[in-house]
């Protein structure tokens, strides 16, 4: 089993390689990835969750220094509270959106429209108002989608619209759970 995990890890590292380069050269983030690994994700996530990032940090550093003032390799701590109430601690590079970060770390957060602001499946709840207030106001388009989000709260956001920045270090995000409270007649958003 351990061997299996290690080999998976290895293949993931290889998969990351071209993308990491692409990102560091462009300095801009485009979600353009296969979610295949996300689909088959369930078995090997118990180990440390961000080795591939560390592996390439030197590489990034080498390439990026002349481009930006904020280092691409700067990372913040993000804590996901999953549907079962378990905490998952991950490190997210500054500039990366939360949906993408979740997928990089095999966290079950859906992204049906792949960041095109046409669905509400990457809905996350910012657990501390203090952090929520550090985020930029949601756009009309994001609010249109949030209106439809299951279990909407006052500190709800779409994961794809939350971009990691240094002030958000330590942010806790809950993934809404359906199993506990899904109404048969459809959802009833909470008052806002």
């Amino acid at each position: 089993m351990l061997f299996h995990r290690l080999s998976r890890l290895g293949s993931r590292i290889v998969k990351q390689l071209p993308r990491e380069r692409h990102l560091s050269v462009c300095g801009m983030r485009v979600l353009q990835r296969s979610y295949a690994q996300y689909l088959q994700s369930s078995s090997a996530v118990v180990l440390q969750r961000q080795p591939q990032q560390a592996f390439f940090s030197n590489n990034n550093h080498h390439r990026c220094t002349s481009f930006s003032t904020v280092s691409e390799t700067e990372k913040i701590n993000v804590i996901f509270v999953d549907k079962d109430g378990e905490e998952i601690h991950i490190k997210v590079p500054v500039g990366m959106n939360i949906l993408e970060a979740a997928h990089e770390n095999d966290i079950e957060l859906e992204g049906a429209c792949e960041c095109s602001l046409a669905c509400s499946t990457c809905h996350v709840i910012v657990m501390d108002t203090e952090y929520y207030n550090k985020l930029e106001e949601p756009t009309d388009e994001e609010n249109d989608m949030l209106d439809l989000a299951f279990g909407l709260t006052e500190t709800s956001r779409l994961g794809c619209q939350v971009i990691a920045k240094p002030e958000l270090d330590g942010i806790r995000l809950a993934i809404p759970s359906a199993t506990r409270n899904f109404a048969v007649d459809g959802f009833v958003p909470k008052p806002h």
Binding site: L117, C119, D144
Partner: protein, 483 residues
């Protein structure tokens, strides 16, 4: 952190050493695919077959989502990855109820999940409903989306300049938008060519969207509303008096930020003015009106010439809801086409408990129940519109599937020696054999990929993302073409 996690993984692993769990999902729309996705993740022993009566997968993502909403269709990418999973298979052109029966399916699989949606329409039950020129919005949507059952609908778009849409939900907004949007903008979408040609020649310039209740109760969503309000050269008409809100309306808005935002958008649109234009088109929001009867044309018998509407007022229906009540005052709107966007309805099949009043399969958290509520049908589940009625968006199915899969998992765990552990089921092998015996030509996912490739190829020639094949013959031919 991870001990619980590990324990659960180990439990799941244990299942994989047992005989495989054979699952059949009927219907390949969002409800079907989300169920498959979640089952694959929850049970490493699950072998899933998704069957669909059409040769093409994805249900309403293909035949319901409007052609000018390509971003909504991106969900297909994820569904395709599920279909290509090594423990999952898709078999199209397989009709439950005619090619095979529900009991045959239940004999073959440990678990059957019905997710075949709602392929019929609610009726108004008012005089004149069968007149020519009256269509359900579903028929119209399937027509412009190239559904093989409705590609020859030929709706009458040329007899006058006015269409009436009954209903004010998102489906109503979709069909209104397709009728009013400049066809040059539709030309680059995956709209069916027969529909594009018909719309190019359409004389419809005025569309009335009729709702029984007011702007605070309209069941539409902000994105779709914003979109239609932004159409070029479209004059929006909303009666100032309809925008007056009562304390009960205020209360409803206080309880739903969505309603409040929609009301604000409508108020803003009502205040805006636009100059007359030679090709000016009009969209009228008609609130507080319910259809009483359809009027028949004097010139062409059997065809609709208008709708008689009764004015309504709102009364409290309890629990904060307001219901429309007729006032006995009537008025007519003349038109040559009516689209009824008042809701879809599911279709029952033999051997399946069905609640005809609600138009759904009676269930408790996705477990099909028959007779009284304590009697569950072993191994039989529902998901999506068949389970909860035709409401919600694609994402609603995510949670709906999670609930159904939760019930399945619980049942498996509780029945240690039950459904899964003891009985051997033939699963896919049995299905394939049965279909062969019955001479049913199933279309597997690679067959769909051939259709997909052909449609995309044809689309390139016309500068569209795809040119849909719109007849059964063409679809089946493309699916079995030599690659």
């Amino acid at each position: 952190m991870s001990s619980m996690f590990l324990a659960r993984r180990l439990v799941t692993r244990c299942f994989s050493s047992r005989p495989p769990l054979h699952v059949c999902i009927v219907g390949s729309g969002p409800a079907g695919f989300y169920t498959a996705d979640k089952l694959l993740k929850a049970h490493e022993g699950a072998r899933i077959d998704i069957i669909d009566r059409l040769p093409t997968p994805f249900g309403l993502v293909r035949s319901g989502v409007a052609p000018d909403h390509p971003e909504t269709k991106i969900a297909i990418n994820q569904f395709s990855r599920v279909a290509q999973h090594n423990r999952c298979a898709f078999y199209g052109n397989v009709k439950l109820g005619s090619d095979l029966s529900l009991s045959e399916l239940r004999d073959l699989y440990h678990v059957v999940v019905l997710a075949y949606g709602a392929e019929s329409d609610k009726n108004l039950g008012i005089p004149g409903e069968s007149l020519g020129g009256i269509y359900s919005a579903r028929e119209f949507v399937w027509w412009y989306n190239g559904h093989p059952d409705y590609s020859s609908l030929k709706p009458d778009l040329k007899s006058s300049d006015t269409a009436v849409i009954l209903g004010q939900g998102n489906v109503a907004l979709d069909v209104a938008r397709i009728l009013l949007r400049p066809t040059t903008e539709l030309a680059s979408t995956d709209i069916a060519t027969h529909a594009l040609s018909a719309l190019e020649e359409s004389s419809i310039r005025k569309v009335y969207l009729v709702g029984r209740r007011g702007p605070v109760q309209a069941a539409l969503t902000a994105k779709e509303l914003r979109e239609i309000l932004g159409i070029k050269n479209l004059h929006i008409r909303i009666k100032e008096t309809d925008l007056t809100v009562t304390p009960a309306d205020e209360e409803e808005m206080k309880n739903s930020r969505a309603r409040k935002r929609i009301y604000e958008l409508l108020s803003k649109a009502a205040a805006g003015t636009s100059k007359g234009d030679c090709d000016q088109r009009e969209l009228h929001f008609v609130f507080f009106r319910q259809p009483e009867r359809f009027l028949e044309s004097d010139e062409s018998k059997g065809r609709v010439s208008g709708v008689n509407l009764e004015k309504t007022i709102l009364e409290s229906g309890g629990s904060g809801k307001q219901i429309a009540v007729g006032t006995g005052e009537f008025e007519d709107i003349n038109c040559s086409m009516v689209l009824k966007a008042i809701g879809y309805k599911s279709v029952p099949i033999d051997g399946l408990p069905f609640d005809h009043k609600k138009g759904i399969v009676p269930n408790v958290r996705g477990r099909v129940v028959s007779g009284d509520i304590s009697q569950t049908e072993p191994g039989l589940y529902v998901c999506g519109w068949l389970k909860r009625g035709p409401v919600g968006i694609i994402a609603t199915n995510l949670y709906c599937a999670e609930e159904t899969v939760g019930s399945i998992s619980q049942d498996i765990e509780e029945e240690e020696e039950g459904v899964v552990g003891k009985s051997e089921k033939a699963g896919r092998k049995g299905l394939v054999q049965l279909l062969e015996n019955k001479m049913v030509k199933k279309v597997d996912f690679s067959g769909w990929e051939k259709i997909d490739a052909k449609e995309k190829q044809m689309g390139i020639e016309r500068n569209k993302p795809r040119e849909k094949l719109v007849t059964w013959e063409d679809l089946l031919a493309a699916s079995s073409a030599d690659s």
